[in-house]
Amino acid sequence: MSVSMPSIAAPASAKFSWLRRMGWLERIGLAGVIAITLLAIFGPQLAPFDPMLRVADAYLPPGLPHLFGTDEIGRDLFSRVLLGIRYTWLPGLAVIGIALVIGSAVGVFAGMMGGWVDALFQRIVELFLVLPSTLIAISVVAALGPGLLNTMIAITIFWWPWYARMTRDEVRRIRSRPHVEAARISGVSKTRLMLRYLLPGTVPALLVAATLDVANIILTLSLMSFLGLGLPAPAPELGAMTARSIDSLTVYWWLPILPAVVIFVMSVCANLAGDGVRSALRGA
């Protein structure tokens, strides 16, 4: 009687449907991002040597037991890079998070109010967007004094307007859709409309943008530390490590190259994961 193909939908498959929408590279990127986050949190515990102390001869090439070799005063480069991941990755996530909160709050408010409030906020946002961000960030840090927190503040100042504009545009788009119109007719209050009917609709677009931005932030943070605007000297920041040893590129290549490679791997993983988030949210 039943000539049909065996086609029983497994209900459990729905749980990970978001994962199924991702391609292989994107899944690898996502796994990489998770691994990097774990390393950023537990890196110092995993480090085989004390990253701040001389543990061997200077300028040992990569090998055993010093996987990445040693630096100019004999510190273990692998351990320093592990710690460096923490100083780049976690501030990067923090900057994104803070910029998202500020940006979406401003964006939802402007998009919801419309009229002159919207116009005013738009102009302010544009003001931030037209300034050469990295240059200004550098001068902000120069004014506040170098340091990780100041660098983060400087970057956040130039990051939130992007999210504000994106949230605002999304809100304007969703606002004209029938379900929001229906909610307005139903007599839903303004605050509730904003928080329950509009804001959740902006999440997918913001999430995609934010994950794709992680790579950008890491590069900017590394650039700032490369320019000497991050943590003061002995701290193992990846950008700063590359900068300090750039002169010895031809002789002791591992000193500038390996931290740079780690920066590269982190941003590639972040980008792939960002693409993955976009695929996962598509059609959801």
């Binding site: 000539v3 029983i8 498959s13 379900h179 119109e181 229906a182 909610a183 007719i185 007599g187 009917y197």
Partner: protein, 584 residues
């Protein structure tokens, strides 16, 4: 010539594969018109796409079975072979003619690209009934009307002399007044050239008018297949019977509700060893949920997939006795008063610094709707009927004139696309409950009233925790109605609420709205382009043409003696079920 055998298609959505077609067999003879009838989601469009090898790649189609056309096997064919088949053997007429034309190229050039000589282009434009082919050929697509564009596409398809033409709801995007002409044109050309047409529609009356055979699809399986006349006269599957009994036209009884056979008990489950209509079937037996009925050949040459098809005739006769409408409560007060409404929209700027031209949409519309009364507003697209509804709802500001509501209470709106009118990330209960928030009722009271409203519209209150995506389209429409009436409004505005529905759902929605407005004494404005629906639901019909009310009055009076020329074309364009009259 075309032979489909055991066609199974699975398509993925959100990473989940769903069976869309589950064992479909069909043969098509040259010159034959077969109608594929079913509601949205029945898989009727998927058959059309599978025939052309055009199943969307992003839904990762898994296809098995066989589709043979002439010497070609389409299932599993290489891209090159499929292209050849699409060029020479199978063509299609789309739903949206504008989307199928290149907006940057003149009609003549586009047609020439398909390999026609300039003389043939003009000849074909004439054959599809376009006046002044020379002018049309030189025109860009946006300068033509929807009906003209569809004629151009029909000319482009038929000029290739295909063996099979797939017409997927070719008239839904067109005004009712031109629908009939397009359909006649299609069938005439098919007969002339011996092209077989696969006509995809959700309207059994349209199918009955022009097809030789009809295939009724439900949930990816064939429910019934046979001669159109025979199926329409005495359906053998309860779904086909439901479609038929719920059909209404200009001669349906206005005094009572429409008969509906199906009862929706949750989402249709397509996969599994059971009849997939069981969740809606009024005559289901325990066997139906355990075994899957085969598409059995009956002695009259028809096929139906039902264990109890001998009970279907009784079902039909019992359906004729639908309950009468409840007594309307109301009063003499007006629920809505529109006084000399004018509205125009800014159009294109004349020159670089010139003033913007203004397009008049409404000029001086007066309309009054009493409590408990329903006025249907009919008119073609662009007549301003949606704008009038939005002004009445307070969503759009009028330029001149006054809008007043009974007691100043703002009206509620039932939208055309119910799924889009529900917020996807909020539960049904939350969205209905939001209307109670301004009343400051307790949480328990709110839940009780939401449950009450859901019950009123015929939905299990247990579904109040469901998200809209977990409901069927019909259930979503009921939810929007529940939201509108959980706090009874004095005026309910309905914006083409049934135009996207199949007949059985449309009938249920009409019954629901007609009952509620009488019981609650609501005034109702029902915007539609379907004159038959307008006649059934409304106490008065108002005809809007180019922003002016050209006629208003009792439905039967308007229909039997239309005054305005536009009303006359509207009346003549309503499809009627031909065979039913012959058998009655």
């Amino acid at each position: 010539m075309l032979s489909i055998r055991g066609l199974h298609v699975r398509l993925s959505r959100d990473g989940r594969a769903n069976t869309v077609l589950d064992g479909v067999d069909l043969d098509l003879a040259p010159g034959e018109v077969v109608a594929l009838v079913g509601e949205s989601g029945s898989g009727k469009s998927t058959i059309g796409l599978a025939l052309q090898g055009l199943l969307p790649a992003e839904s990762q189609p898994e296809i098995s079975g066989s589709i043979r056309l002439s010497k070609h096997e389409i299932v599993g064919a290489k891209a090159g072979e499929l292209r050849q088949v699409r060029r020479d053997l199978i063509r299609s007429v789309p739903q949206d003619p504008m989307g199928a034309l290149n907006p940057t190229m003149s009609i003549g050039r586009q047609m020439a690209e398909t390999g026609l000589s300039p003389a043939e282009v003009l000849d074909w434009l004439g054959r599809v009934g376009l006046p002044d082919p020379r002018r049309i050929a030189a025109d860009m697509p946006h300068r033509l009307s929807g009906g003209q564009r569809q004629r151009v596409l029909i000319a482009m398809s038929m000029a290739a002399k295909p063996r099979v033409l797939v017409a997927d709801e070719p008239t839904t995007a067109l005004d009712v007044t031109v629908q009939a002409q397009i359909l006649t044109l299609l069938t005439d050309l098919a007969r002339e050239q011996g092209t077989a047409i696969l006509f995809i529609t959700h309207d059994l009356a349209v199918a009955a008018e022009l097809s030789n055979r009809v295939m009724v699809l439900f949930g990816g399986r064939v429910a019934e297949l046979g001669e159109t006349r025979a199926v329409v006269k005495a359906p053998a599957h309860p779904y086909a019977a439901g479609l038929l009994s719920a059909r209404f036209d200009l001669s349906s009884d206005r005094g009572r509700q429409l008969s509906t056979l199906s009862t929706e008990r949750g989402r249709t489950r397509i996969e599994g060893p059971h009849c997939n209509y069981v969740a809606r079937c009024p005559i289901s037996t325990p066997e139906c949920s355990q075994r899957r009925p085969d598409l059995a050949l009956r002695e009259d040459g028809r096929r139906a997939a039902c264990f109890n098809s001998d009970k279907v005739p009784d079902l039909l006769s019992s359906a004729r006795a639908a309950p009468a409408w409840p007594e309307a409560i109301g009063g003499n007060a007006n629920a809505l008063e529109l006084f000399r409404i004018h509205k125009s929209f800014a159009g294109r700027r004349k020159g670089l610094f010139g003033a913007k031209a203004r397009t008049r949409v409404l000029s001086g519309v007066d309309l009054r709707i009493g409590l408990g009364e329903c006025v249907a507003l009919v008119g073609e697209s662009g007549s301003g009927k949606s704008t009038l509804l939005r002004i009445a709802a307070g969503l759009v500001e009028q330029d001149e004139g006054d809008v007043s509501w009974f007691g100043g209470i703002p009206p509620q709106v039932v939208f055309q696309d119910a799924v889009a009118a529900l917020t996807p990330w909020l539960t049904v209960g939350e969205q209905i409950g939001d209307r109670l928030r301004p009343l400051n009722v307790s949480k328990a009271e709110q839940q009780r009233r939401v449950a009450e409203a859901l019950e009123l519209v015929g939905i299990d209150p247990a579904l109040s925790g469901a998200l809209p995506a977990e409901l069927s389209g019909g259930q979503c429409q009921r939810v929007t109605v529940a939201r509108a009436v959980v706090v009874p409004p004095k005026l309910l505005l309905c914006d083409e609420p049934i135009s996207a529905m199949d007949v059985s759902l449309a009938a249920q929605t009409l019954n629901l709205l007609g009952t509620l407005r009488r019981q609650m004494g609501m005034g109702m404005l029902f915007v539609t382009h379907d004159l038959a629906a307008a006649r059934l639901i409304a106490d008065r019909i108002a005809v809007l043409e180019k922003g002016q009310l050209v006629e208003i009055g009792e439905p039967d009076q308007i229909i039997s003696d239309p005054q305005a020329p536009y009303t006359r074309t509207l009346v003549s364009a309503v499809p009627r079920l031909v065979t039913e009259e012959a058998s009655a």
